[in-house]
């Protein structure tokens, strides 16, 4: 690696520990203005309060938002110099029919924008192997141009295509990583393989080139997010590149502070989640995004009843399944089915005294002063999860933004949805 590459890389990876917390905000170029990147300048203002080491942007946004990267306290800038349509799945406008990738700027262009590194994809596993060869040729070209420019090249090797299966995925990640390293990557942005053992193999495959794990998936809870980070750091990972989990959070700075605590300070996740000396705090501020409903995956449910217990405990301070605002149906050994509020609002519509309403946090709230405990809401609930217990109407309130049942479900049978 040349001197300029080394120096610029050291402004991304903190030389004190060799690790980095990077925020990806280049989604607009691949997916359009998804939530969180619509008003990117505003979002990044909040993101920067959380002191990321670097932010990944497209060339256009890098030019437009250059003021955010001025001064030595500012994060370093990473610029994506390629493009692909491959991430436009069925949920996006114009879903991809045929995958394309290609260059949109040169390393020299990125350098002129003030970049500390250029970021590119490398897809491995194309159905047409000629495509893979072309992609590798492109990455090799980037590598030599970057070396000449003194700009580090961060490659994002991704297993891709119909030949990728669940069983060969982690081995393919390791393979793709090694190909990227041999092609001249100075750092890597890599998807998580799902468990620390297989990720250790990925780290081995990188031959000492630093690996940042990418978000990509929607973390189910903050603990889940931090657990993945801690697992990768534990087996030799060098940090994270997180996008949606940060930019779509109601309080990106708080998420980043927690991530930094795990990556740079080596703090145990359980302490960070509990907010010990981190300042994350519990409640809505600690959530990754504001949930508006719960999604149920009955096939994952083990019938352990932790969700009903934690629901009654967190709301009433006692373990009483009858006081729970959700229930689990089914008999041992299963199948089981958690039944939760779907936020259908029939209870709100049924209430003549307007004791029920939708709060600013998105949950149904109950005002005891207006309520005469008539029970119409209980009758109106198609799932019978609205109950009257101890002279109170019990309706799922999504725990003011941080549902405890979701937090505690070890099987992810309950998931909070934005």
């Amino acid at each position: 690696m040349g001197l300029g590459q080394e120096m610029r890389l050291n402004r991304i990876f903190d030389p004190k520990d060799g690790r980095a917390v990077v925020v990806a905000a280049d989604h607009g170029m691949m997916l359009g203005p998804i939530s969180g990147v619509q008003e990117l300048g505003k979002t990044l203002g909040k993101v920067i309060e959380g002191r990321p080491d670097a932010i990944l942007l497209s060339p256009g946004q890098a030019e437009d938002l250059c003021h955010l990267f001025m001064g030595r306290r500012a994060p370093s800038l990473l610029v994506r110099i390629d493009w692909t349509n491959t991430f436009r799945d069925r949920t996006y406008t114009l879903p991809v029919r045929e995958t394309f990738f290609g260059s949109i700027a040169t390393p020299r262009d990125a350098l002129k924008l003030g970049a500390h590194a250029a970021v590119v994809y490398l897809f491995v596993g194309h159905e047409d192997e000629g495509q893979e060869a072309r992609h590798l040729a492109l990455v090799s070209k980037y590598a030599s141009e970057c070396a000449r420019a003194g700009l580090p090249l961060i490659v994002e090797p991704i297993p891709f295509g119909p030949r990728v299966t669940k069983s060969n995925y982690s081995e393919l990640v390791a393979t793709a990583v090694r190909i990227a390293v041999e092609a001249g990557a100075n750092a890597l942005k890599v998807p998580y393989t799902g468990d620390p053992e297989s990720f250790r193999d990925v780290v081995r495959a990188s031959a000492g080139i630093p690996i940042l794990v990418l978000g990509g998936y929607r973390a189910l809870s903050r603990r889940d997010l931090l657990d993945v980070i801690a697992e990768t750091i534990g087996v030799g990972g060098s940090g994270v590149v997180f996008g949606r989990n940060v930019v779509q959070a109601p309080d990106p700075a708080s998420v980043l502070r927690d991530i930094r605590a795990v990556v740079h300070d080596g703090r145990p996740v359980r302490e960070v989640v509990a907010g010990v000396g981190v300042g994350a705090g519990a409640g809505a501020g600690g959530a990754l995004f504001t949930p508006t409903r719960l999604r149920v995956y009955p096939e994952r449910c083990s019938g352990c009843q932790v969700c009903t217990a934690v629901c009654s405990f967190s709301h009433e301070g006692l373990h009483d399944v009858n006081a729970s605002r959700l229930r689990v149906e089914g008999e041992w050994p299963g199948p089981f089915k958690p039944v939760t509020c779907t936020q259908c609002e029939r209870c709100i519509a049924s209430c003549e005294r307007r004791a029920l309403s939708r709060s600013s946090l998105g949950n149904v709230s109950w005002e005891s002063e207006r309520c005469d405990l008539c029970g119409k809401c209980v009758d109106a609930c198609p799932l019978r999860v609205v109950t009257i217990h101890d002279s109170k109407v019990k309706i799922c309130d999504l725990c003011q933004g941080a549902p405890e049942c979701v937090e505690w479900c070890s099987r992810n049978a309950l998931v909070a949805m934005a």
């Binding site: 001197l3 300029g4 610029r8 370093s76 350098l111």
Partner: protein, 230 residues
């Protein structure tokens, strides 16, 4: 020895350090991390600073560009620096210096690299009476060629300093020149000159060699506070 001095001055909180190509290679660790100073690569060479007590005192002012802006970028520089002198004995030399400066400016424009020009009146033709005017000429010429900021020696009085700084149009830094390049120039201490220069609108200071040599960073830290406040 030099290593330690460099590390100390970097730790004192300077915003940037001007390095030559060869040293940048050897001391890259000074510039590791976002807290560290920016590396500014000096592109050129001159014998102008070899005074009467030097082993080889300057007999004729020479100036030469050694490194391209592109090489500086490849080596990790955040900016580049070059000299521009006025007062050469032969006008041809000044013309050559300006030509090479202009070429650097164009390369900097092309690569979007900030350029610091150290504009210095020098030689027998520069005397106390024309020093400030020569300084104003040198710095303004550098700016017109495309310099993004200039570093200039003290102009003599606060009033003159203000005139030169204002005429420069771009941010101007006070250059800590130990050599009294014009006969009869007052030798203020740097702290006093810096105070006046900042009052006159200067944007900072370029600390000279003595702050590296002394090994004592207390004075440097005091000057850094003077510039940034606090």
């Amino acid at each position: 020895m030099f290593d330690e001095a460099l590390e100390r001055i970097a730790g004192a909180g300077v915003d940037g350090i001007i390095m030559s190509r060869g040293l940048a290679n050897r001391y890259s660790r000074i510039f590791r991390g976002r807290d560290s100073p920016a590396m500014i690569m000096g592109l050129d060479w001159t014998n102008a600073f070899r005074g009467g007590d030097h082993l080889l005192p300057m007999m004729r002012l020479e100036h030469l560009v050694l490194t391209s802006v592109e090489d500086a970028l490849t080596l990790g520089a955040s900016g580049v620096a070059a000299y521009f002198f006025v007062g050469y004995e032969k006008d041809e030399y000044e013309a050559r210096n300006f030509e090479s400066l202009a070429a650097i400016c164009r390369e900097c424009d092309d690569l979007e690299v900030p350029l610091l020009v150290q504009a210095i009146p020098v030689g027998e033709r520069v005397v106390k009476g024309n020093y400030a005017d020569s300084l104003a000429l040198a710095s303004r010429m550098a700016v017109e060629a495309g310099s993004d900021l200039v570093a200039i020696p003290y102009a003599g009085t606060e009033g003159e300093m203000k005139r030169v700084v204002t005429a420069a149009k771009v941010p101007a830094l006070l250059l800590d020149l130990e050599l009294r390049l014009a006969e009869g120039q007052p030798d203020l201490g740097l702290a006093q000159a810096a105070g006046q220069a900042l009052d006159a609108g200067a944007a900072g200071i370029v600390l000279g060699r003595r702050y590296l040599e002394s090994g004592n960073v207390t004075e440097a830290e005091r000057l850094i506070r003077l510039v940034h406040g606090g």
